[in-house]
Symmetry: C2
Subunit: 594 residues, 2 copies
């Protein structure tokens, strides 16, 4: 059993001690990072949230404390009182390295067994162990730094939005299916056995209702839930910075949000973002980068080679064009020397994106080298080189297929090449871009109908509304995503606030009037009573913190994350439930047939 504090008070944090404190008597409390007994002197590196301080015990300083200090081990929790003195051998690598504490009194607040993981930066332990002993993993200074950044990020967001007269308002967790269309987490109801609440995938419907209610500017930092198979950097519960504004158009929402982001990045990592952030229409992002979240830290745009090969005798190209597809390529600067094996690997890579293959042309000093050269006339090859803007020494990589396959595979190949060839020179670059003019609808080939690209409340662009019936695929939306270094940081839209237009949208989406009314009736009903024009946006807070903290693992920015099976190795949730409680809820567990 450890000693009690009994009125002993900490006077300062270990990590805060500096030369200016020399001569002060202080009391610090923390954990033993390491202990060295050099005969007559014992050195303890004492760690708290703010840093590490060297504490020295000696027979000559205080013999009782010296003897007690000798009993401590790593991760013991102790309190030490004594004078701050100048250190004999200064440690330039530690902020506290000019000073040390002469230990006159030590309390052992609690003991520690040998921890199963090291409490140090850049730990190389398995994820399973880190999650099981999360309370030790979270002791590591790099993890503590991340959660300081997370706190400061949320604080900066709230401070900014408060100044802009947004009201933070809470929306229900126990609610009804929201319109995102992913799988909901369900919560059985005891009052209505056999009925279920859904945990929200977003506060979308509620924030729109709050605009109808006249709250004018709403935001919330809020947990959202999706019961989807977990890919890397997905968690079943995640945190959104959700906001909505009334009496605004797209430019107003974009402007507010880029000022928000500028404020946050300045406050948290002292980065100056130049406003306005550039914008790029969705169509351009797709044709140049094969992605709605292009990474603009490097060039290598996709080149359309269709014109160059029109009428050629190469069957693969011809078939693609005949089926309404296209032929496009990437030009790898200085890539002409890339080996055959490497190129073959890239060919395998694009196949995972449904491309049938990868054609290539090495444009060498001595001439063209290409497996497809024999199918093409010289002027066709020259036209390709011209369209591809290739120079001597470059490599042209070509995909021919229907457009979606060509763009997606070349978009992915572009990112793969950037990694392989180390094309991103400035690792500290933050390259922001707004993607705008998204397609309102996506054609779902399986179901033979259009579905909402964003969600069914997104406002079409005024000039495209006329095509809603005649050519739905052509209609662009007042929707916008903020993309950073090839990742979506957030996205939103101007919403429909007109019952008739909203019902037309549901028609186009193949909802019957009843099914739409059943799911979203309360929103449609609210639109009968003077809804204001409104729009908003949601950022992923977890991803924002990942950028600010410089980690690419979402589990690093969530204190108690789930593993890939949505299981928590620390608490062992999910777990069995009481039969009695299941009866109260009116549900039972299905027998598995074996």
């Amino acid at each position: 059993m450890g000693e009690a504090l009994n009125g002993v008070k900490r006077t300062i944090m270990c990590g805060d001690l500096r030369e200016s404190h020399i001569g002060n008597k202080v009391t610090v409390m923390g954990w033993v990072q390491r202990k060295r007994n050099l005969g007559g002197l014992i050195f303890i590196d004492l760690r708290d949230r703010e840093g590490i301080l060297q504490v020295v015990f000696g027979e000559a300083i205080n013999n009782e404390a010296f003897i007690k200090a000798d009993t401590v081990k790593s991760e013991y929790c102790i309190a030490v009182t004594g004078d701050i003195v100048k250190r004999e051998s200064i440690n330039e690598n530690m902020p506290t390295g000019m000073v040390e504490l002469k230990g006159e009194n030590i309390k052992i607040l609690s003991e520690s067994e040998t921890p199963p993981i090291y409490i140090k930066e850049n730990l190389d332990a398995s994820e399973a162990i880190r999650l099981k002993y999360r309370y030790l993993d979270l002791r590591r200074p790099d993890m503590q730094n991340i959660f300081k950044i997370r706190h400061r990020t949320a604080k900066a967001i709230r401070d900014f939005l408060d100044k802009e007269e947004f009201l933070e308002m809470e929306t229900p967790m126990l609610t009804k299916s929201t319109p995102e269309g992913a799988r909901d987490y369900l919560v059985p109801s005891r009052n209505y056995p056999g009925m279920f609440y859904a945990l929200p995938q977003s506060p979308q419907l509620f924030k729109q209702l709050l605009m109808v209610s006249g709250y004018d500017k709403y935001f919330q930092i809020v947990k959202c839930f999706r019961d989807e198979d977990l890919r890397a950097n997905r968690q079943p519960e995640f945190t959104q910075v959700d906001l909505e504004m009334s009496f605004v158009e797209q430019d107003d929402v974009i402007s507010l949000n880029e000022r928000l982001i500028k404020h946050v990045f300045k406050e948290v990592i002292d980065l100056d973002i130049k406003l306005p952030i550039k914008r790029m229409p969705f169509a351009e992002a797709m044709s140049k980068y094969g992605s709605d979240k292009p990474d603009l830290r490097f060039g290598m745009e996709i080149k359309n080679l269709t014109e160059a090969v029109k009428g050629c005798e190469f069957k693969v190209f011809n078939d693609a064009l005949a089926n309404g597809g296209s032929v496009r390529g990437l030009t790898v600067e200085g890539g002409a020397s890339m080996g055959r094996k490497d190129i073959d690997r890239l060919g395998e890579f694009v196949k995972t994106y449904k491309a049938k293959g990868l054609a290539w042309i090495q444009y060498k000093e001595e001439g063209i080298k290409s497996p497809i050269a024999k199918f093409l006339k010289e002027e066709e090859i020259n036209a390709i080189i011209e369209k591809a803007e290739a120079k001597v020494g470059d490599l042209i990589l070509i995909v021919a297929d229907k457009n979606s396959v060509v763009l997606q595979s070349l978009g992915a190949l572009r990112l793969e090449l950037a990694k392989k060839l180390d094309l991103i020179k400035d690792k500290n670059e933050f390259n922001f871009v707004w993607i705008t003019e998204f397609a309102l609808l996506e054609y779902n080939e399986e179901e033979g109908r259009y579905s909402a690209a964003h969600h069914p409340f997104t406002m079409p662009m005024d000039e495209d509304i006329e095509y809603l019936d005649s050519d739905p695929g052509r209609v662009r939306a007042k929707a916008y995503d903020l993309v950073l270094n090839g990742e979506e940081l957030g996205g939103g839209s101007i919403r429909i606030h007109d019952t008739k237009l909203q019902e037309k949208m549901f028609n186009v989406l193949g909802f019957t009037s009843e099914s739409a009314w059943e799911r979203f009736g309360f929103l449609l009903e609210s639109f009968k009573y003077g809804p204001p024009p409104h729009g908003g946006l949601a950022f992923g807070l977890d991803r924002m913190v990942m950028f600010l903290a410089g980690t690419d693992n979402i589990k690093d920015v969530i204190a108690f994350p789930k593993n890939q099976n949505a299981f928590c190795p620390l608490t062992e949730a999910p777990n069995v439930a009481d039969e009695k409680q299941l009866n109260e809820l009116g549900i039972e567990i299905q027998k598995t047939e074996e």
Copy 2:
């Protein structure tokens, strides 16, 4: 279909216009509170989040706008541009009452049907209608004011705790049963069919783990969940201000939190709370006020009359004393004139608290009047009067029973009398008190064992630890509640951070070592690795906002609350679930036998 903004921008809020704006051209947007057509002039009261502005349209100002303005009705959403001028007939009751807007241009942004409830303060509509049309109910200025208060309250809390170097950290929503012991909401798992997450009743275990992890000072404003039958002012999901600190003792936690409360009440309602807040041991609160959350805005303490009636011949009193109980009473100043019917009603009242009856003594000018006078000697009656500190004209109300019944019924009666007799003179008084030295354990007669009064991690008071085995009921806890005007605003404790003491606690509570380990094993395990002394507290944010906003209905401070059946009349949650999804979760709905 309404008109689009088309680049028209709001320049100021309706409620913000003052005399200083005279001569400015402005654009405002909002809802039509009312319209009056006085022949050549149309007056519209236009409402937004900040207030109401008079807008005037006239043929002479702009005839086109005048004609259009005549088509609007209540709750139409409109935008108006024009000059701010001095109003002819000043309205002293409105902050904007010095000015009006001459409407030169009007856009009808959306129309409104006649709303089913009035958009006005102090609405007298049924709760069912208010919740069904919550988006209209939330338009009412008094509701909007409450949510501004709620926003400012959360902001003030965060600002204060940020300055005090607390880190706001998020804990999981999908987790395991927490130790409060109320019924959990369950969430079926798809990855582990037949297993369930629990929604947290509090972040208790996680915040203790964060202390073990060295985060030092944690807080979170967070949703918590309890699936209990809803009494008034209970909601299935509620919001806690949850905090925890390391290396502290009780006084440190109390001091920090009273400074927090002082800051919040000053920021939000400009109230000056004098610190330190008074403290009262639990035993004193119970004996004087029959409550662990005494309302100290009035006196009328419970008087112990046991000594006065010891050995008397009145069987009711004698039986109570013989069974180890007591005889206690309340003295109602000037109550001797209370009529027999009123007294009988009080008798019925105490019976709902299990008292068998209410004895009474009217101490009148002309002598004693009491149905029990015949059972008592004159000196016994005099002794009662003395102990009761009654004066001529007073009424003494007496309950005899076992102590718990006596104190609870008299405590409730005291509050009932305060209401009936209007004893709380200053309705604006905020009377805070810390209740300390709570009993650590409560004896559960049904189960024949002790259970934790607070939760099983609460630290016993040092001087009482020795009684944990011999006399558990005597052990007091390092626990503290902050009480305001008879309501619990928050509570917390210093926690056990020693594995051995924690295991002893589980023994006393009748947990087997296995069952304790199964439920809380990860916390016990973490205590092996140098846990710091720690303690904390949680406030109910909803209740805090109720005080700050001056409402006694929790539904007024939650934007989208549930009704008494945990049902949301707006969204109709809970609702049916998809058969397919239930299959994925491995659960089915029990057939009801009919």
